[in-house]
Symmetry: C3
Subunit: 265 residues, 3 copies
């Protein structure tokens, strides 16, 4: 099975890749993971992959194309991990997921000299995916690579980053919940907020900013029947600090002493 | 076959559900019915399902996730009808379609205590669909439910509602055409309109509001080479009255006596 | 295999067609080529088909629905070419691709009298595609057609047209690159531009308009980390002239004598 993750959005480029895959591996089974990554947002794609790859059956191949460096000398990678295969440009996109699953080998895919310099998704990566899907081993695609471009999401204590803004306008962070905590102080850019935590969307009041544990089991800023994105205008990768505010509830929680400093706007 | 109907839009949540389904039922055949329902518009999803389920082969399973009540105590349903299976939160979404096809059994799906409280699509509903797809019976998913949340589209004589606004800006109603009628009087909110009826889009003049029989065989307000939505700004569920205007053409047609009262803007 | 190309965008109409296909040909394998053609833009769809059909395996059937004339007496066509089958309304959409591959037979699909007059995609074309997919021959769909609606992209020397504006805002033309040329003079409407040519997106400066060889191996106007569409607001089908500017580099290149006339804005 081949799962696609691209920034091709509303374009024919995804369809062209599927055609190419099927021309090589006629019965390839292709599933769309997500193809509306913000154009060229390697970071957002990396988070989507990290937080969703494990939903897929073992043996799945992830074909990931967010490729601002297409046509330059950036490597084209095929990475084997403990349970999956990842094919992508070497720009960090697959690093967090592959690292988490456990990398076992990394191949630098051979790029033919006559390849187009603007659409490696179709001309290099789709063909490589189809070749593996039709039974070839990963080593047949090129030579072992000595390095892989890393990508780390910022995390230092209770400071993390905005890793994703979803279709509903939810602002997704890489920070975990503090068990039992009902109120948090959040700092995002110049914005300081005192936010309630709810277990479900239904508990929130309309138009109220609040925190919730999202589908990746991390904290998300949401607005019921609205869009947190439109209220806060965050950027992908922007740092965010979210600390608990209930003194005593969690021994040593950083938030306690700050009560009263953060103001709800 | 599993057909998806969700409000996940441009998000990875649909891809995650597909991954989960395939992890349980490896060769599950998944078709997208429609995944751009307006966020949380149970009503719009209910209409799309009602007017399209019968296009699918008998035996198809509809996995329907528009779920503003996720994480609350609203039930998760699996409904068997004469020819299909429907899986959805118990909020009315599947009621009109299931009722029309003929409900034979309703199961309240067991929700594990450790389920996430924000993404039952992935954690409850996709798993239930995959379990059925891989051969389990509906009774294996939980216990028989005693009730199901109804949802009725408003219809009283020639007054119905706006059930859907489509990609082209067509305003779709649940009112049928009057055979042979060439002109209608329509009341939508404060707007009173005298509208011609055309059999095809090609007959209309550019930029003109008109009525046509749409794909669900009900009346739609359209604009040729334009968007009726942008002219009239209707809301889903808003009541609309559309009566025939040709006196004598249809015995007892309500429209006749009103000729001259409605003004075309 | 059936590949879809439509202007249905974010609508349930594509899902309904897939349901209908599967009701007739239960294991039909359906791939989305592209379903976000601008509403009713036959011209744009024709280009997408022309520049992508050959990516698909031989024997593929293209189901193409951009159909402003639905319900009129325009023919419904099934066209057999050397390696593919095309099903579409007779409005030029499939002409360039079918012509290029080599037309071997053209059938006018019989339209039942009780067909809807607004959704032939579901009621005529999807059924025809499914019938062929399940093994019937093209002749079973109707009678041989004597004519087919042509569609030609404008091209006269170095003057061509804007054939497509993609998801990234790239303005795609049907003009080829001049080998070795590093600078072009382009005229688009009232806009006269002196544009550098780069082999890769990475070479361009941020926010700079430039030319690149796109995925169809034709010239595209691009902006790095931006949208050429938003800078130039071109229309599909608009004529564009792009000539080389390096005197002597290419013997007889038209651009040389004009150096100095075109001004970069």
């Amino acid at each position: 099975m081949i799962a696609t993750l691209t920034d091709f959005g509303n374009s024919e480029y995804l369809g062209a890749m599927k055609g190419v895959i099927r021309s090589i591996s006629f019965d390839a089974d292709i599933i769309d993971l997500y193809n509306d990554v913000a154009p060229q947002s390697v970071r957002q794609a990396a988070w989507v992959l990290l937080s969703n790859y494990a939903c897929f059956p073992k043996g799945a191949l992830f074909l990931c194309i967010v490729d601002p460096g297409v046509g330059t000398d950036r490597k084209a990678l095929a990475v084997q991990t403990k349970s999956y295969t990842f094919i992508a440009p070497d720009n960090g996109l697959i690093y967090p997921a592959a690292q988490k699953d456990g990398i076992t080998s990394v191949i630098s895919i051979t790029i033919p000299k006559d390849a187009s310099r603007t659409f490696h998704g179709r001309d290099i990566f789709a063909k490589a995916a189809a070749k593996l899907d039709s039974g070839h081993g990963i080593a047949s695609l090129g030579k072992p690579a000595k390095t892989i471009q890393p990508l780390h999401f910022h995390k230092k204590g209770r400071e993390g980053e905005v890793v994703r803004i979803d279709h509903f306008g939810n602002i997704i962070t890489n920070l975990s919940c503090l068990p039992g905590e009902k109120r948090y102080a959040a700092t995002l850019g110049k914005e300081k907020m005192n936010l309630p935590f709810y277990a479900t969307y239904a508990e929130a009041k309309s138009d109220e900013l609040f925190l919730i544990e999202g589908s990746a089991r991390t904290l998300e800023i949401s607005v019921k029947s609205g869009s947190a994105k439109q209220k806060l205008h965050p950027k992908i990768g922007e740092h965010i600090r979210i600390i608990g505010m209930q003194r005593g509830n969690i021994p040593g929680a950083e938030g306690g002493v700050l009560r009263g400093v953060f103001l709800k706007k």
